[in-house]
Amino acid sequence: MIEKLEFRAAKTLAVASSLFLVALLSPSFVAAKDMGPTAEDVEKYRRPMEIPQPKNNRMTPERIELGKVLFFDPRLSGSNFISCATCHNPALGWSDGQPTAVGHGMEVLGRSTPTILNTAYQRFQFWDGRARTLEKQALGPIEAEGEMFQALDDLIDELKAIPGYEDMFEHAYPGEGVSKKTIAKAISSFERSVVATESPFDRWLKGVKGAMNDSAIRGFQVFKGKANCVACHDGFNFSDNGFHNIGLPDNKDQGRFSIKPIKVLKGAFKTPTLRDVALTAPYMHNGQFNTLMEVVEHYNRGGDKNMGNLDPNMKKLGLSKKEKKDLVEFLHALIGDPQEVTVPTLPVKK
């Protein structure tokens, strides 16, 4: 009897040890429970304390407030019906929930509405990067025929006729008046103020236990490792500020190539931030995927052929079902804490 018990105990021990060995060798064990960030992770992904801003347009409360009022004012469009916030809706991750944007006269446009979150940190604006600064970007959609379709000279007259605006411009930009320049500067100041809040990932980076669940922690390892998402989505803003053709075969949009006619740029678009990405479905510049899992599947198959110019960083990944799930879980851990956005009361004519 005693011998039998000893045998059983030994057998149990042997099974337990082999299970431990299997667990130790399995890739998922690598990101097991208490694995915290490395020093390199902290260095690379920690959010900066300061918002970059140009010398000739420092952010002040008055400038941010004026920009916010302009941002939410539909009178900035030709129809007086569309504001910047119509498409860049804070309730929808500063996007619009549509596959591609809907502009003047309900026209469906060719590219999706990008979030304005963390644009302060972007080196290029628009999907094709045709504007280097927010100041150079801000007036584009107001004027564009397909978007807000507003002649800027008329807009200046309209705003000047509203006393509240005259005062706000004077406070924000003393002596500069209501002009294309000050409109662009004010909107840029507001946009710069829209930065990502602290996410579970940021708390995990700080060493807060349990801030990210195990699946998300494993997902981060896949993100950096097997899936090599960091080839483009790198750094605290998860963007290389670069342009890539990631194999979306649906349309003839040449993207960055129309700005810089270099072969590698055919069908290439700007790498967007991944902060709050789970709030901004549908995905990609053409809005062709509805869920992050569809996006992950796209990358897992190495993208599809597009203009014979697929970015060579795109490769079949061979991710398991669990790895794909972990990756999506990690992307959800990049959602920042809810940010209350108040809608301003717009100045009116007397």
Binding site: L265, D311, P312
Partner: protein
């Protein structure tokens, strides 16, 4: 007289060849952390002599490109991975802008003297 002339011509040719040979340099510029780097330092300007060659070597774990669309020179080296290097010989004096199309913050001006 004739011999002396030939001797002089030969001397001039030899000196010229030697001088050119000594002057034409090979310079390595790394593409590192999405910057152009020479001798361990990030650079945005570089002065070379006409005839010099710059080897653009990718040192990042992803693909880079090098192109130039200046009036003086145009070239596009395509995209290439870590460890690979591509040479460009700069013959014409002037200033040319060199960029990476994939990561446009990588930008430098090459002054060819």
């Amino acid at each position: 007289m004739k011999t002396a002339t030939i001797y002089n011509i030969l001397l001039v040719i030899t000196t010229t060849v030697l001088a050119l040979g000594a002057e034409a340099a090979e310079i390595t510029v790394l593409q590192q952390d999405k910057s152009f780097v020479k001798d361990g330092e990030q650079i945005e300007v570089l002065t070379v002599k006409a005839g010099d060659t710059i080897n653009f070597q990718n040192d990042d774990p992803f693909f880079h490109n090098v192109f130039c669309l200046s009036d003086l020179e145009t070239f596009d080296l395509g995209s290439y991975p870590k460890g690979e290097s591509k040479p460009v010989k700069f013959d014409k004096p002037g200033v040319v802008e060199v960029e990476c199309a994939i990561h446009p913050q990588m930008y430098m001006e090459v002054t060819v003297e």
